[in-house]
């Protein structure tokens, strides 16, 4: 018997993904800056969805507080830029800062399970938001602009930001992809399928989860950096808003929790919805919340997971999946 990871489709598709990245890189050379800005937003969503999925889909860690790292990335950029660091260097530093802060937070956050972790992370986000609000240099509660970016001509600025977004997305998706394919990946999927069983087989669950948590800290920090680079103005009320978590949950649940491709599908879907209903507003959010809840209850594997299951399709091969049969014990 032969165990194969790559199929023809998946080889073609992985090649296609690389080609897509190269094509995307040419977008700013061809299109207007508003298109570029919109695509930047899409990349931010893809990045966020992938990171939230890394936590929940592979680590079983449902966080309602990833906005903490988005905020650290965004405010970190402003902070470093104010110190006189070149804006795009400040963005890299802020990303590193978010990842660095994720490490100490992980030391205790990872001890918590389920609801305690979810709300514990939320409270951490609130605390960081309160700290920012107390700092007059960061605009306190009223917000602050990244004025240092004004030194660039708008079209160039938009292009640089887009390339940064593309770079971040490629780097973080590739990191996740190779992480899941590595020997570590097998243990991560074991944890996802049954944490206690994985532990009893000697998988160092805590260390694996920490890896995912810090990766997600970096990734969400990068997304925060991109938010401030894309919009130029941030305030604690929106950048630390729990709404980010709502978006992430929506994208991942609808796309497919615990699948590599699913969150990307979810991000494209959310992006399409956002550009169609530009007014936003309560109805749109009612739909978002209801859809997320419905998917959680009725279609827990999401769109992609369901397609994959029905058709045996696998575009980006990260491993082998086991259908959960946990209903048994609780239903009994």
């Amino acid at each position: 018997m032969k165990v194969a990871r790559w199929t023809r489709t998946s080889k073609l598709f992985t090649g296609g993904a690389a080609a897509l990245a190269v094509t995307l890189a040419c977008v700013p050379l061809v299109f207007e800056s508003d298109v570029v800005q919109k695509l930047t937003t899409l990349l931010i969503l893809v990045l966020l969805a992938a990171m939230w999925n890394a936590l929940a889909g592979y680590g079983g860690l449902l966080s309602v507080g990833q906005q903490a790292f988005i905020g650290i990335g965004a405010y970190g950029t402003v902070f470093f830029a104010d110190l006189g660091v070149a804006p795009y260097v400040a963005m890299l530093l802020a990303t590193l800062l978010a990842g660095a802060i994720a490490l100490p937070i992980s030391l205790f956050a990872l001890r918590l399970r389920a609801a305690q972790f979810a709300i514990g992370m939320w409270v951490i986000a609130e605390v960081i938001s309160l700290i920012v609000r107390l700092d007059q240099n960061l605009g306190a509660g009223t917000g602050i602009s990244l004025i240092q970016l004004n030194q660039y001509e708008p079209n160039f600025r938009q292009a640089y930001t887009f390339w940064l977004a593309l770079g971040f997305t490629v780097v973080f998706l590739a990191a996740l992809f190779f992480l899941l394919r590595s020997p570590l990946g097998a243990s991560l999927q074991a944890i996802r399928d049954d944490e206690d069983a994985a532990r009893s087989l000697g998988v160092r669950v805590a260390a694996r989860k920490r890896l995912l948590f810090v990766l997600a800290g970096f990734g969400c920090g990068a997304a925060g950096v991109l938010v401030v680079a894309n919009t130029l103005f941030i305030e604690p009320g929106s950048v630390f808003s729990v709404q980010w978590s709502a978006y992430m949950i929506f994208m991942v649940l609808v796309g497919g929790l615990g699948t590599f491709e699913g969150p990307i599908v979810g991000a494209i879907l959310l992006f399409a919805i956002q550009t169609t209903f530009t007014q936003g507003g309560p109805w749109y959010l009612v739909g978002l919340g209801a859809t997320a809840a419905l998917f959680a209850l009725a279609l827990p594997r999401g769109l992609w997971g369901t397609v994959e299951e029905r058709l045996g399709l696998r575009l980006l091969p990260v491993g082998y999946r086991v259908v959960e049969a946990k209903g048994e014990e609780r239903a009994a």
Binding site: F108, A114, I119, S245, P282, V286, A293, P300, K326
Partner: protein, 301 residues
């Protein structure tokens, strides 16, 4: 004296948090789930009372009594439609489903009532304004006292219910072993539905106090949820009286924090919550001994 007064006001505030947390604690105790829409349900209850007061001009307390049956039915139906399904599929699903529900409730309230800030303080009668000056620096507000007394009564009644009634035993039995409870003839679905109905009804009481004490708007829910959850965790998850103590500890932390700086009130509560989490589940047990070993090894050299 100001510190003593702050602590006293903290006890009153904490009693309010305890009422908010009570339903959350019941649902966790019986079903091991945390309802992330709990705060929004409390705010929804406040809006139901608001509508009743607007249309009939009755006092907020009478509006609460009228809203109570609505909330009980709402809780019962919520369990049978949404939560029961989510219980069957792992520990993350109830969180995801109730988070979605929370967003739905907030935005439906937004649509129905606009984002304006409301209050029921004006329709609660003299209780909102009355207070006794004990000494120059120490005052006891009538409302604070009412909330405290009601909180103690609610927890006391719940304790009696759980320890003295057959329905209470059924709830405890199901909480401890739902499978075995079914085998002795207990309808666990029904018990769960009643637990949620109680939780939602008590959340409405929290909504009443929120509306009388201060103001609320469609997105007030998440903050109430966080405070309620903090109270539950500080008091020890799964312990009923612990929730009352936890709520009061949170309230006192907030009012004492406000003594340092008005903006520090909420932060002090969060910090207390995080410290309790760390002490109970977090690094402490593992990292402190390791740090001590390291230090000792250094000292030994």
């Amino acid at each position: 004296m100001t510190l003593l007064n702050a602590a006293l006001q903290g006890i009153f505030l904490g009693a309010f948090y305890a009422v908010l947390a009570c339903g959350l604690s019941i649902m966790f105790g019986v079903m091991r789930i945390i309802n992330l829409a709990h705060g929004d349900i409390a705010v929804f209850g406040a809006y139901v009372m608001f509508v009743i007061v607007e249309h009939t001009g009755v006092s907020a307390f009478i509006a609460f009594a009228a809203a109570l049956p609505v909330m009980v039915v709402l809780g019962y139906v919520l369990q049978l439609t949404v939560l029961e399904r989510s219980l069957k599929s792992g520990i993350l699903t109830p969180l995801l489903a109730t988070f979605g529900l929370s967003i739905v409730i907030q935005n439906l309230l937004q649509l129905a009532f606009s984002p304006d800030v409301r209050s029921l303080g004006g329709s609660a009668g003299a209780v909102t304004t009355g207070s006794w000056q004990v000494t120059s620096g120490l005052s006891v507000s009538a409302l604070g006292l009412v909330v405290l007394v009601v909180a103690v009564l609610v927890f006391g009644a719940l304790q009696l219910f759980l320890s003295r009634t057959r329905m209470g035993w059924m709830m405890r039995a199901t909480a401890e072993d739902a499978d075995a409870a079914e085998l002795v003839g207990i309808d666990s679905r029904g018990v769960y539905a009643w637990a949620t109905a109680f939780a939602v009804a008590i959340a409405a009481l929290g909504g009443l106090f929120l509306a009388i004490r201060s103001v609320f708007d469609p997105v007030s829910g998440p903050t109430q949820l966080i405070f309620a959850f903090e109270a539950v965790v500080i008091g020890g998850m799964g312990s009923l009286w612990g929730t009352l103590v936890g709520g009061i500890a949170l309230g006192v932390a907030q009012t004492l924090g406000a003594q340092i700086h008005p903006q520090f009130a909420v932060m002090a509560g969060h910090l207390l919550f995080l410290v309790v989490l760390i002490a109970r589940y977090g690094g402490g047990r593992d990292f402190l001994p390791r740090a001590r070993r390291l230090l000792l090894a250094r000292a030994g050299r």
